[in-house]
Amino acid sequence: MQAPLDPIIPSRSNEEHPAAVAGPQPSGLFDSGRSRVTTLSMKGICKSFFGVEVLHGVDFAVERGEVMGLCGENGAGKSTLMKILSGIHPQDAGEVVLKGKPVEWGASPREMQSLGVSMIHQELNLLDELTVAQNIFLCREPRSSSGLIDFGKMNDEAAALLEKFGEKIHPRRKVRELKIAQKQMVEIAKATSFNVELLIMDEPTSVLTGKETRILFDLIANLSSQGIGVVYISHRLKEIGEVCHRVTVLRDGHLVATKRVAEVTPRDLATLMVGREVKDIRAQDFAGDPESVVLEARGVSDDLLKGVSFKVRRGEILGFAGLVGAGRTELMEVLFGIRKPRTGEVLIGGKPTNIRNAMDAIRADLGFVTEDRKDTGLVLCRDITENANYVIWQKTPGLFKGKRKSAGDTRRMIERLGIRCIGPAQIVSSLSGGNQQKVALAKWLLSGAKILVLDEPTRGVDVGARQEIYRIIRELAAEGTTIVLVSSDLPEILSICERVIVMHEGRVTGELEASQTTEAKIMYCATDVRAGGEHGRA
């Protein structure tokens, strides 16, 4: 990559200018007073599911070349609005107008796509067993004169598309072999390969590293300058300020406001979303006993990790920052016995451990709320009670579950964590993301874990639930639970971690106390600016 490696969150977005528009300078482009052709206008959209109205006459418009942010808590109606726009659901009332022409009611997703509306879903829709190029050109593969698929041409075109992202993904690789961020890049390449007028992106950066995010923003600016409208859905309010021209806020199916980003701070947006004041909290330094080390890693190395050492004390909240691929999740998997280190050791309570599998880790009172709750955290097709009790059942002897005790335990957890559900028998897949995350957390709290590893605990969780999870983390730490938190969300690290360890390519490249941590410092350690050079405290 030849692009200069400027830190992702440069100092211009510091406290004095919270909504300073960094990056592609969108407002300049948009304010140039050229004739405004409305790409999309949605008026008075109403939609009910099973007799419950979830959208109450929402207006939404995107001008030509405009990047429109769309935010709101989970359940606010963003997805429903976008599903109506992309043809997945028909609206009950209201009209959709694309480039001045009303869209026929009940247009299918395919028809909407042919009208130029493309959507990149948060959950990636790629076929794992096909190659990158096959995915990009699925169902519209270039043909040779004999009518067979022209693989050479297809691969070349795919490579050309991917090049725009500065991503070195070989078009012949199977999607299964790609990292999650690379898969997302393929999705974006696929969406832009259509003749788009309006591109909807649902939380596109939730799996991207800072560098990839920067590339994405450049790309969005590029699309915008070509006159393509972009709807940018994100929980990361700072990103909205960076990349969008205007932002629309929904709450409980109502349009709350549409504002120019220059007029609002991320905090204003959060307030609009939740309907009350949201306070930014900065974490304090760890105030507990500095000698009470409960977990220590010494020189842990394997294919990816290179001599990682760290200590964490009782009741401390230790953050692990870094880019995707820095080895943070892998380190946590070593602690939990899922990955075997080649060298190095892990000490718990000062004693060397021999953790070979998850059960050994559970016996050592470790808990691991994994990064991907759908894959490794929850059994989605089972109910809350079962999911919350899997670990405690194994820790206690006996063949039978003890229905009464587990029901009581589950109710207690539902109350304590504020899990919004019909009851303990509700199937987990029908809960919202935030509530699912709380169930994953409940499993480990019930098990009595004393050291809790949380890997990206607020991914895909809305602002309100996020604050609740932070509150729970702080409470747990205050009660003496040691928290190891892996997060790619810097404001999150700053607001709850008492100490931060930064990793880059399998190495610890920095260690910062809360009082001396800034986003810029973390990014400085996390990017390869200092790679190869001397490290922080090793």
Binding site: F50, G51, I338, C381, R382, Y390, L399, I422
Partner: protein, 329 residues
């Protein structure tokens, strides 16, 4: 109680849906009995009904074990041949008699050997599937072919007659208070298994493994062990079915004993509403499922339909049952 809780807080449409989802199989079952009773009044004759229960119990026993395997996300295609193999062991042991006519191997011991052979095949299936990480479909298919071949070899491809003594034949052909013994065995198994599936930790882990293997592993559940045990359970059930089948005929036929039973058992499980993708299912559904299959077989005779068409009817029943369930969801 929990189901009621959900119902009471939601609207009538949802309540109807939940009732349909939970009890559709019983409603369909009731409808089938009424229709059959109208089509052939002899169907409702108690002797006929008891006969259905007796005939359906052998596949029924296998289906009970199969339910665990399928809920855990697996499948067992070796049950039929394994039934023949364990049955052959039972017959071969049981037919050996001293000069005075007393058995060389006591009958309980021979039955125990039969159950052990079934369970051992289950263990073999489970070990290969989990340790070699191969798809259950292929492993059990191969083990089934292998088992069938072994039994053909030992029987020289023919039928071997057992020792036709009432203590032995009574298991499959006898009744207690008019209730066929095979059905009593299946009911006892079903109750035990129902408790195992719904009340025990093991049962919950079976659902977890089938629902999301990774999440189960990260929760410390010994996924491989759970898998192996489910295959051993279906093996044990197959051994039980073999005991009943052998005792009914007092003979083992190398090529036809247990033929197609694995498919009948899988059909019963699917008709009973257990999801082939794992993580969902109920034993009561399986019980109703195999009885429905028994009724279908019986009605073919009642209505004088060519036995060659039984497959067509069963195929239609599967499609219909699955269609109803997918609509109910």
């Amino acid at each position: 109680m929990d189901a009621l809780e959900i119902g009471s807080e939601s609207r009538p449409v949802d309540l109807m849906k939940s009732v349909w989802h939970n009890y559709s199989i019983l409603l369909v079952f009731g409808a089938i009995i009424v229709i059959c009773g109208i089509a052939a009044p002899r169907f409702l004759n108690p002797d006929n009904l008891l006969n259905i229960l007796r005939n359906t119990s052998i596949v029924g026993a296998i289906a009970l074990g199969m339910t665990f395997v399928i809920i855990a996300g697996g499948i067992d295609l070796s049950s039929g041949p394994v039934l023949a193999t364990s049955g052959a062991v039972l017959i071969l042991l049981q037919r050996m008699v001293h000069a005075d006519g007393s058995p060389v191997v006591p009958l309980p011991l021979a039955i125990l050997a039969c159950l052990s052979v079934g369970t051992a095949f289950g263990f073999l299936n489970g070990m290969v599937i989990t340790k070699a990480k191969l798809p259950p479909f292929i492993v059990t298919l191969a083990v089934g072919i292998l088992a069938r071949s072994v039994v053909m070899y030992f029987c020289r491809g023919a039928t071997i007659m057992g020792n036709n003594i009432p203590q032995f034949t009574g298991i499959g052909n006898g009744s207690v208070l008019n209730v066929p013994i095979p059905f009593i065995i299946v009911v006892i198994l079903a109750i035990l298994f129902h408790v195992l599936l719904t009340r025990s930790k093991f049962g919950t882990y079976v659902f977890a493994v089938g629902g999301n293997e990774n999440a189960a592993r990260y929760s410390g559940i010994k996924v491989d062990r759970i898998r192996i045990i489910t295959y051993m359970l279906v093996g044990l059930c197959t051994g039980t079915a073999a005991t009943v089948e052998m005792s009914r005929m007092a003979a083992v036929a190398a090529t036809t004993s247990g033929s197609q039973y694995e498919f009948e058992a899988i059909t019963a499980v699917i008709v009973g509403g257990t999801s082939l993708s794992g993580g969902k299912g109920r034993l009561i559904g399986t019980v109703v499922g195999f009885i429905i299959l028994g009724i279908v077989n019986n009605m073919m005779i009642m209505l004088n339909i060519s036995p060659y068409l039984s497959g067509a009817v069963k195929g239609a029943v599967i499609l219909f049952a699955v269609l109803l369930q997918s609509r109910g969801r």
